[in-house]
Symmetry: none
DNA sequence: GTGGTCTAGACCACG
DNA sequence: GTGGTCTAGACCACT
């Protein structure tokens, strides 16, 4: 069963978009694999403290993208075809990193400063 | 006159929040200074391809924060009191870096991979 | 359900201010009471031929004043605490009458003419 | 020269509409007559504390309606053709009184209460 | 279905 | 020309 540990709905982006992103990141990380079972809509909505409709909308998106399949009954499963993971990785990872670099360059941060900053945050994050 | 070169409205966050962020980053970088003239609502809205109202809302936020001054019928100007820049820097820079480090960790990227990735993107960015 | 029978949007004042006035007058008249259900934003907007947003803004004003309560996803209801009605009455009735007496005096209408005029209109109104 | 004694810009209606109304009420009252000179745009704007453009817009409205004429030079004069006054009176006075009566009836005020209220306000107004 | 928010367009008042 | 406000339409999250 896929875990939503660490998911927070605080971002300014719509929740129904944040859920697919969270799952895709798990796929990239390898913690979410083909065949994994997703929490039911009701379970997840309770877990995240959001409305079941919102979860439904998110699952629908993933389904349309072919990333999950909903068998008869209500259970949903990850469906990751060959190469899908790499595809997602290219789509997401670089995009995130690029946006970070772009923003920080815009702030006048030098490459050295950025790397120092990341090291610092990384350390801190480990202690949480 | 403040330049909005490099601003793109692609993020899922509301545009009226992205504009203040862009400006704050310029302040941090030192490319936007106290007394600088802001583009008019219409000019900027045309530039970004959004509605004048959206820009108005963004400027209003900055005004409420005391970062810009604007009088009806007259242009708007940056207003950065002593120490304001540092304040913004602390507020923004870490926040941006943190959120992205968090995401990337979630994707299972190691510190080394991340730094490598950043180096790569940085190089590429230089050639654009 | 509160009725908006007789409401017309013809005045030069903003609609989002006229709606609260209309409701307050109903409260004064006693036709709108504590606990009464308000028409939904969409229903009322369709009824008045205005945008749902305009109604939203009007309801927001009333909510800020503590006259209605509304929870997302649920209906909105009047909330009239003890003495609130008298408060509104004092605020509104005299204000309305005063502004109109002022205008009519400005038109050089004598007290007798005004009373005659009112009698006349009153009669006519009864036959409508 | 027409006096703007008693004019206040506090109403929610646009100022450029309030000015013509004020003048029309003076015409009805008989205090403003054919041939009377209007204050210049600049004078009036200073007097009312509004922008010259706004006064210009108001005068333009009156001109389009044929109520004022602007001779060469900048002076403007009232131009009230035969029967014009009655026309305005019918347009304005009843409309104002009607709206008053309508509102008060909506508040559940009886005819007797209304007349009593008017007497009261009238008295008070005399002492101001 | 409900309320709430974001973006859009037109208009008002000001310099 | 400038900033500010009112109305409009579409979308999001919730019952």
């Amino acid at each position: 069963m896929i875990s939503f540990e660490g998911f927070v709905v605080e971002d300014n982006a719509p929740i129904y978009l944040q859920i697919p992103l969270f799952i895709k990141r798990g796929v990239i990380a390898g913690t979410i694999c083909d065949g994994d079972e997703l929490p039911s809509r009701r379970t997840l909505s309770a877990l995240l403290g959001v409305n079941p409709n919102t979860v439904q909308k998110a699952y629908k998106l993933l389904e349309d993208e072919g990333l999950i399949v909903s068998h008869s009954g209500s259970k949903s499963y990850m469906h990751l075809r060959q190469g899908k993971r790499e595809e997602i990785k290219n789509e997401l990872l670089k995009q995130d990193a690029e946006s970070l670099v772009l923003r920080l360059k815009q702030m006048g941060v030098s490459r050295e400063q950025l790397i120092f900053l990341i090291e610092e945050i990384w350390q801190r994050g480990d202690n949480i």
